[in-house]
Amino acid sequence: MTGKTNYSNSQLTLLVVLRVLIGWHFLYEGLSKLVNPDWSSVAFLLDSKGVFSSLFSSLATNPNVLKIVDFMNIWGLILIGLGLILGLFTRISIIAGIALLGIYYLSHPPMVGFSFSVPSEGSYLWVNKNLIELAALSVLLVFPTWKKTGIDRFIF
């Protein structure tokens, strides 16, 4: 990083809007799972396709591992969401978000010939919304808006 954070007002505003929108999405994904006592990642994991599918399925078959996976997923989503919205520990939140989206993408890659039990709401070939959200987060990582707009401004 160069240290230059002199963006124009519109550049900064739109980058922050993007950050907040992605944060909102993460936060609600996490909270909606938290308040549903029956939610579990088991079905999602068992439905995995592609090179890593056996790894994801094996997570689902061990009840103790599954509990940890569910816990980390729910709280990961919530904390990443809060981090992005508030601009708090933003860098680490973005990196964690990229990792989580990467896992989602790899577990359900939209490759030719794969079909999933949960039909997706759009049409995807190689590229899906997880991948786009991941790319958007990567952009945010190299434009450190939190140094201007975010609680990190007072910390770092």
Binding site: S117, P144, K147, K148, F156
Partner: protein, 522 residues
């Protein structure tokens, strides 16, 4: 970090401008909290509005603790072909070769939990003291199964080896046998059960309860006179979703039921009873006259021995084998009893293999007292899943391992809620998934999708249990306590008469009636 130069100036004294800029996105959280609150409130409103006046129990019945104390119950196994070994497994006995293969399966694939489930299956405090099969290979297999009291694969040491009988009468007469499990061809069920009851043995009998109408009366009379504990092998009685379905009916959620649709949808040789023929089977290893019994004489036939369900001489066809499970589920949910009328049609349309029983069958049963009809539609040559559906004026219910209830778009009861959009007829108003903690009012399409496939909650929370195990356990508990099992002789009587009415309607090509007063088929 190197890029803090700009802020470093303000570090000593953070200005008001700094704070405003830094905290600019905090109000978003307030908006989020408001939106989240509204969403939750909306969901809760819909849920409460649907659940209004609906009182369903929200907890799963725990698996009851078996009453296995006291003296061991000594079992005699009669018939050890396909179903016999499955029931023995449910009672805690599995042939060492099968244990070993399950163990290997678990080692090769950690998702394969059959071995662990069998090892963890509750000990019912029973032993197998005698076995009987007229095919020597099966008899030996039954004996080794009964002797595998340690549930071992490799390293199996036979202990308390059961006696092999070639004649079921000798097994019944054995004073070391307290109770028998009958898993023979249909034409033997009632004969064996009657003799066992007369000898004071308790009975677990595979479905259908009888091969002929006459036997049905005799068996009921004998069981009532002798007072032995009788359980018919409809393990569906232990299916939790059926109990919930009964609550849905009791609470009048789908309105007055007018039509029930139950189906059989199979498309494999095994499903069509074309079972494999054992390579060691021949007139020397099979006691053929004992297979025939009171059936019309026929010369030795391996097809008839292994695929007996394909011939009326020994079988009750689709009615006895598969309709009975569907019927018993409905009898459990709705308490229907015996229908007033039955008509059937069908034929041998796909399996031109010399069989005499149809492979496509439709039977319609009419219940005058309930103002409803039950349609049974079966094919052995297509596997499109059609499920069990109970249809009422206000909604319909699909029953399986899960349970889903939908409102009818033209329902009277839900008219207001449908109009206001509170109820969407394309989404279930109630759903129940076995093993899931509570009843949900509104489920997402995704959740519904998995529920239908039985994928949800399979590996989580409560143990997965074999319904046949629970059914056997209930029978054994009743033997110890003197209570009556769920699929007792009266429910068996309902089942057998209903199946016979369907069969007679098909074979005689006429409408068959039940005279409730005189308990006669006319």
């Amino acid at each position: 970090m190197s890029d803090n130069t700009e802020n470093n100036n303000g570090r000593s004294g953070i200005s008001r401008r700094d704070i405003l800029k830094g905290m600019a996105t905090v109000p978003v959280l307030g908006a989020f909290a408001y939106a989240f609150y509204r969403k939750r409130k909306h969901t809760r409103q819909i849920r409460n509005s649907i659940l209004e006046n609906i009182n369903l129990s929200t907890d799963d019945n725990e698996v009851p603790v078996a009453n296995s104390q006291g003296k061991k119950i000594r079992l005699g196994l009669i018939g050890f072909g396909i179903r016999g070994p499955q029931i023995a497994k449910a009672a805690g006995f599995l042939h060492p070769e099968n244990v070993e293969s399950m163990k290997k399966g678990a080692e090769a694939n950690s998702a394969d939990s059959r071995y662990q489930e069998f090892i963890n299956q509750e000990d019912l405090n029973v032993e197998v003291t005698a076995v009987c099969d007229i095919f020597t290979v099966y008899a030996k297999k039954a004996q080794e199964t009964g002797a595998n009291i340690e549930r071992k694969g490799e390293g199996f040491k036979p202990q308390q080896i059961p006696v092999i009988y070639n004649d079921y009468r000798e097994l019944i007469a054995d004073s070391n046998v307290d109770a028998v499990i009958i898993a023979t061809p249909d034409h033997w069920h009632a004969h064996m059960a009657i003799e066992a009851a007369r000898a004071g043995k308790h009975i677990y009998c595979e479905k259908p309860m009888s091969w002929s109408v006459e036997e049905t009366y005799q068996l009921r009379k004998t069981i009532k006179e002798t007072g032995v504990v009788f359980q018919l092998g409809h393990q569906g009685r232990q299916t939790e979703a059926y109990n919930k379905a009964r609550e849905v009916i009791d609470n009048n959620i789908i309105g007055s039921v007018n039509l029930i649709e139950v189906t059989t949808n199979r498309n494999t040789p095994n499903g069509a009873w074309v079972y494999p023929i054992h390579p060691e089977a021949n007139p020397g290893t099979i006691d053929w006259p004992k297979f025939i019994g009171q059936a019309p004489w026929h010369k030795f036939s391996l097809e008839r021995f292994f695929r007996w369900r394909c011939w009326w001489d020994y079988s009750t066809g689709l009615s006895g084998d598969l309709l009975t499970h569907e019927y018993d589920a409905m009898n459990q949910i709705l308490g229907l009893g015996i229908p007033d009328k039955a008509v059937s049609s069908g034929g041998i349309y796909h399996f031109k293999d010399g069989r005499t029983v149809p492979d496509v069958l439709h039977t319609v049963f009419e219940y005058d007292a309930y103002d409803l009809a039950m349609v049974y539609s079966a094919t052995l040559a297509n596997s499109k899943s059609r499920g069990k559906v109970i249809m009422g004026h206000d909604g319909y219910m699909e029953v399986g391992n899960s349970l889903t209830v939908y409102a009818d778009r033209d329902s009277t009861r839900y008219r207001d809620k449908l109009k206001k959009g509170i109820i969407d007829p394309s989404l279930p108003i109630l759903s129940y998934v076995q093993g899931k903690k509570n009843i949900d009012a509104v489920t997402s399409a995704t959740e519904q999708y998995f529920a239908g496939r039985g994928l949800l909650y399979t590996y989580r929370g409560g143990k997965r249990v074999d319904t046949t195990h629970l059914h056997i356990k209930e029978w054994l508990d009743c033997i110890r306590t003197g209570e009556t099992p769920s699929c007792n002789i009266d429910r068996g009587f309902d089942e057998a008469i209903t199946a016979h009415m369907g069969t007679m309607a098909y074979r005689e090509g006429r409408r068959v009636l039940w005279d409730h007063e005189n308990e006669k088929i006319v």
